[in-house]
Symmetry: C2
């Protein structure tokens, strides 16, 4: 596969890859999953998140989604610095709950110029501001998948402790009411509990 040839690049500096596997023997047990917009994903009993270049697909995989940790597309300096001060990392011992929410946006969204997407994303939908309101309780990581030509544009991952499950419901519920979400054509919510 030609993508693995580096033609002179040290692989250490490429964007990290993530693979999510929906299967039967993974790290996170599926509590429920539902398509909130568009086509569902096949039902799976577990989800595993693998941040690694290489990846061996398990024979019982129901689906495989790949993305990359890429650069920020909308965040400005002041927002970046503020979030960096308060956010916490993934893998906290008490974060026994998680959510994987793959999202796809419409062609109309992607045809907008950068300033109009930023305007909808933050000035009118307060996406960054809303997410920051739930920090550090709800840790999250955004993976980009659009340029990889997968079925979703983003694979969003969240981890939180049991007392914050209702707060997480609030967060995703509020985002779904925004102008930005009018451009979401497919969204699957997968709620998870650590095995």
């Amino acid at each position: 596969m030609v993508m693995s040839r580096t033609w002179g690049l040290a692989m250490s500096s490429v964007v990290p890859r993530v693979t999510f596997v929906g299967g039967a023997g993974g790290d996170w047990r599926v509590e429920w999953m539902a398509a909130t917009r568009g086509a569902p994903l096949p039902a799976a009993a577990t989800v595993t998140r693998i941040e690694a270049d290489a990846f061996a697909e398990p024979p019982d995989a129901r689906w495989v989604l790949q993305g990359v940790r890429s650069h920020e597309r909308y965040t400005e300096r002041a927002e970046k610095d503020r979030v960096a001060l308060i956010q916490e990392g993934l893998g906290r011992p008490d974060s026994v709950l998680a959510a994987l929410i793959p999202i796809r946006k419409s062609d109309a969204w992607w045809a907008l110029p950068q300033d109009e997407r930023r305007e909808i994303f933050e000035a009118r939908s307060r996406h960054i501001t809303l997410g920051a309101r739930y920090l550090p309780a709800i840790a999250r990581r955004l993976y980009h998948a659009r340029d990889l030509r997968g079925p979703f544009d983003f694979l969003t991952w969240f981890e939180f402790a049991v007392p914050y499950a209702a707060a997480f419901d609030d967060l995703v519920g509020t985002l779904r009411e925004t102008e930005e979400w009018r451009y979401v054509t497919r969204e699957v919510e997968i709620r998870l509990r650590r095995v």
Copy 2:
């Protein structure tokens, strides 16, 4: 290969893929190629540009670079509309000259927030303004490759008629003097003539 599984997506709406092959029997003859920054690419006699999902690698390929036609990352509405009025497409009969310039930027660039990258890109380096100055004579197409984890972040493609070769030299020379170009860690210029 998992990337080809769509899990419910009509492939027609994914971002188009491009493949550039450096080889011996392609559509564009290499007049010269040189690394202006960083490691060179292996010498090739011809280059072929293939905008298609599927692609059969020729046995004599010296290198293969892939990218996607993705959404705009910096262009604002007024700039987009102005460029749309004056630019012309690829494939004009008199465009017998072309250039492929793959570019990689530093980790420092990609760590900048969106507003600081935009500030360097246009407010201080006038990237969009400079390119527009050479429209419609120099047609161009930008392909993104960073999220594909290839050796370059961008594969830039230009086509122009013989009288505009000096103007093209001016354009790339001016860009290389900008603040933006301080973040370029690798750049290979490949100058081509249609076979």
